[in-house]
């Protein structure tokens, strides 16, 4: 069984192999030629500056500026990236500033070979190169001080942005800017032992907080340009849909509307401001040819995916003797699990501001894929990539949605065609109802247990559309197994001798995409729900049952035990409150969660408390880790309780937060996050908290009611007391 899925998450191995040709896919050479600043990487400054690599500038005022190539969408990269560099530089943290990098291959994410942010990779990918960048600069500053003092460099030490001599004399980094710049960049700077870390592992405050509490932080939607037109679109409802007729006379009559432009993805109304553009868009009369998806319904999606789960012709795991194990089981069980399409529902609606002038393109956008955007827009605008300038703004949520290039392409096309700078804003409704969904999925499970309750067989068939195929930059391997469709199932941690795990690709139509934790988001619900069913069939405690099957998985076991311990597993709870547990590994990190849930007489579940344990290897910032796990739990809980995108007559039925509800303050459980101390290399942190929450909650509901929830979102009417 393949248990080496750690790196192949969201945009890992396959992205490295297959990423579209348009990006300059030269991976950062980690061992060790630090890229120097090129092109726009270095802001031209008149004052002397020490900038031994693209990530760092030190100025005579002792200010350290770290340049961050990753996009900030809440996950804390604008703090974590400077911490990595500042640690090895021995910088005075109070003097460290961060700025957003331009697109430059110096800032390629080494795990992707392109400048992009996703797959919970930022810390994992930059852990070594950013520390080396800081260490190299530190050695150059020390060498400069040694030359000035005529001392041996080995007699000097550094702290708080100062070089300190053996007699205690000091030179600030700022005072060494000119001299350090003449030093040779060391080929192999020495990195600290983790026990000597002063910043890494500390809960430092985020550098982006002050601007986010006074309204000054600039998101993509805040871009301002003279003469800007605002565009709102009627977007094609499903990928195949084409506008067959457009009557724009009423739209053009709206005061402020200037142009109506049809592009491949829909019809755009360009106006002096959003309100006029939105009124114009609502006045459009567009007839769509829905193509192959005409009349598509959720019932049809479900039957296609169920057939795919039962056929499951692409085999990922075939181990032992499945047929004999099924025949010889003392107890057998089977179950059908389902998960719906989900929208990302980022707080900031998708938007991009573009200005195309001749062969020059400039965009202002919150995007997870700045590097690819540059290449794609060069094609869209028939320019060279060097003529495409991408200004990365703050992202009002990403969750995978902002990895997609649709809004960037549309804005650039509209600017090119209209001849004006254009800010394109998808209305909430047009964003939600036109694709880029977490795939709907159906999974058929069966298992056999021996007389002692030990599992002897696990058989799983999953039917779902392929994200790899939808991505446009990945290829399904020859096995036919989309790597996201089975992640979290094919790499489960349990000792089971006979297994068959297979995939049936079915494509009902709606555009599918990466959604926080990707395949794990539904597969851990399926897997950890069914493991709970196996525990019940074995008449074992669900925590002990899991634990006993993890003989080769110490890190899984570690988080499972820690979460159970901190939650007081087995100890009494208030009347009517019950516990459920689940565990997962994703993106190189291990997370177990215990949910405490009660179910009202009307069947409504209430989650009172969630206790999480995480092992993400060495920690950069434990407070950011706790917040990411907590936030990921909220994201997963919103989906488990409410999230569904449904189809009727070929159209998505949801459009805004009234029919796509998300968790609110009054429903927020208490959350505790415990971190396992570790010296393992860092794992990802933005996504791994999401997968275990849905199964932890439904397993608690089983404990409370004896009813299994096998389909999300949870349906209270099925839990109502009879």
């Amino acid at each position: 069984m393949d248990r080496s899925n750690v790196d192949s998450s969201a945009l890992g191995n396959a992205a490295r192999r297959d990423f579209l040709k348009t990006s300059s896919a030269t991976a950062l050479v980690i061992g060790f030629a630090l890229p120097t600043a090129t092109g726009r990487a270095l802001a031209a400054t008149a004052a002397p500056v020490f900038s031994p690599n693209a990530y760092l500038r030190i100025t005579p005022d002792n200010r350290v500026t770290v340049v961050c190539g990753s996009a900030e969408m809440g996950q804390g990269v604008l703090t974590a990236i400077p911490m990595l560099l500042a640690e090895e530089l021995d910088a005075d943290w109070s003097k460290v500033r961060v700025e957003q990098a331009p697109v430059d291959k110096a800032f390629n994410n080494p795990m992707f070979g392109m400048q992009a942010t996703g797959g919970s990779t930022t810390v994992r990918a930059h852990w070594e190169p950013l520390r080396k960048a800081g260490a190299a600069a530190r050695e150059m500053l020390v060498a400069a001080a040694a030359a000035q003092w005529k001392l041996d460099a080995s007699s000097l030490r550094t702290a708080n942005s100062q070089v300190i001599g053996p007699d205690g004399k000091t030179l600030s980094y700022g005072a060494l800017v000119a001299a350090a710049s003449t030093q040779q960049v060391p080929a192999n700077p020495k990195l600290k032992d983790s026990k000597d870390f002063k910043l890494l592992g500390k809960p430092l405050k985020r550098l982006d907080t002050p601007a986010k509490v006074n309204g000054s932080a600039k998101y993509g939607i805040d871009a301002q340009l003279p003469g800007l037109l605002v565009a709102v679109m009627a977007r094609a409802p499903l990928p195949d849909a084409k506008p067959t007729s457009v009557n724009d006379s009423k739209a053009k009559a709206v005061k402020g509307v200037q142009q109506v432009i049809t592009i491949p993805s829909g019809v755009a109304v360009l106006a002096s401001g959003y309100w006029a553009a939105k009124k114009g868009r609502d006045a459009l009369e567009v007839q769509w040819d829905m193509g192959a998806n005409a009349g598509l319904t959720s019932a049809k999606v479900r039957s296609m995916l169920t057939e795919g789960a039962d056929a499951a012709e692409s085999v990922a795991t075939d181990q032992g003797n499945v047929r004999d194990a099924a025949a010889n089981g003392a107890v057998t069980l089977d179950a059908l699990y389902e998960a719906p399409y989900l929208a990302h529902a980022c707080m900031e609606p998708m938007n991009c501001t573009a200005s195309v002038k001749g062969d020059e393109v400039e965009i202002w956008v919150g995007t997870q894929s700045q590097g690819p955007a540059q290449g794609i827009l060069a094609q869209v605008a028939q320019a060279t990539p060097a003529k495409v300038k991408v200004n990365t703004m703050m992202l009002g949520g990403g969750f995978g949605r902002r990895f997609a290039p649709d809004f960037v392409i549309d804005a650039t096309l509209l600017s090119k065609i209209s001849g004006k700078p254009v800010k394109l804003i998808y209305s909430r409704e047009d964003d939600m109802a036109a694709g880029f969904y977490r795939p709907a999925s159906v999974a058929r499970f069966s298992a056999a247990l021996d007389a002692q309750g030990k599992p002897t067989l696990l058989k799983v068939g999953v039917g779902s559309p392929s994200i790899m195929a939808a991505s446009g930059f990945m290829k399904i391997p020859d096995t036919g197994v989309d790597e996201f469709a089975l992640e979290g199932i094919k790499d489960h941690p349990y000792d089971i001798e006979n297994q068959r795990i297979a995939y049936g690709r079915r494509e009902p139509g709606p555009k599918v995409w990466f959604w926080r934790s990707v395949g794990h988001s539904q597969n851990i619900f399926f897997m950890e729900g069914f493991i709970d069913e196996m525990a019940a069939a074995a008449k074992h405690d669900p925590f002990e049952f899991r634990r006993a099957l993890m003989s080769r998985q110490p890190r899984y076991k570690g988080v499972l035990e820690l979460a159970a311990d901190k939650a007081g597993w087995g100890k009494p709870l208030p009347a009517g409150v019950f516990r459920g547990i689940a565990v997962a590994q994703s993106f190189g990190s291990y997370v177990a969660e215990v949910a405490e849930v009660s179910v009202g007489v009307d069947g409504t579940p209430k989650v009172h408390r969630v206790v999480a344990a995480v092992d993400c290897g060495m920690t950069v910032n434990p407070e950011i880790i706790r917040r990411q796990i907590e936030g990921a739990i909220v994201y997963g809980l919103s989906a488990a309780l409410y999230g569904k995108i449904t189809l009727k007559d070929g159209r998505v039925e949801q459009g805004n937060f009234h029919d796509y509800p998300v968790l609110r303050m009054s429903e927020m459980p208490k959350v505790e996050v415990h971190i396992v101390p570790s010296t393992e290399k860092p794992g990802g942190i933005g996504e791994p908290g999401t997968p275990p929450i849905a199964p932890a909650v439904v397993n608690a509901i089983y404990a409370a009611t004896g009813k299994r929830v096998r389909s999300l979102p949870i349906d209270p009417s099925a839990l109502k007391k009879a």
Partner: protein, 155 residues
């Protein structure tokens, strides 16, 4: 022209009476700290104060704002409550993506101006119109309580 006061300044806006206040703030006055989230008063990202009361500016027509005092995130720090709330937000490092936080802060300030020592139920009632997709609700609650303590102490 529609006349109103925004952050203490008299302004005249050339807009239709049915245009939401949000777009006057963001597009005409360049006060982009107030955010667009849903356009239907469902998410609270656009919350501002109208004569001191919290309103969803995406669904407040200019006609309803005419002649009134509007306060946005850009000036709430000039009030005693706003200053305490922003300080608590910084102290708790509340924001993640941060996009909803202007609205969260404006709702929190309105709550604390009304009730200096809100209960958990008061916080639920005042804040449940503000969605946060990053899941910062527990930090928001903690920051409101801290701001409350500092306001009571300083009173």
């Amino acid at each position: 022209m529609i006349k109103l006061s925004v952050n203490g300044k008299a302004v005249s806006i050339d807009a239709d009476a049915d245009m939401p206040l949000l777009w006057a703030l963001r597009e005409q006055l360049q006060l982009t700290g107030t955010k667009f989230g849903c356009g239907m008063a469902l998410c609270g990202a656009c919350t501002v104060h109208l004569d001191g009361k919290p309103v969803r500016s995406c669904s407040t027509p200019m006609s309803a704002a005419a002649g009134k005092r509007v306060t946005t995130i850009e000036s709430i720090g000039n009030t005693r409550t706003g200053k305490a709330v922003q300080a608590a937000w910084v102290n708790h490092d509340v924001p993640q993506c941060g996009y909803c936080q202007s609205g969260q802060i404006m709702s929190a300030c309105a709550l604390l101006a009304d009730k200096t020592s809100p209960t958990d139920a008061d916080i639920d009632a005042a804040m449940s119109g503000n969605v946060c997709r990053c899941g910062t609700y527990n930090q928001i609650r903690a920051a409101i309580k801290e701001a409350s303590v500092s306001l009571v102490k300083g009173a």
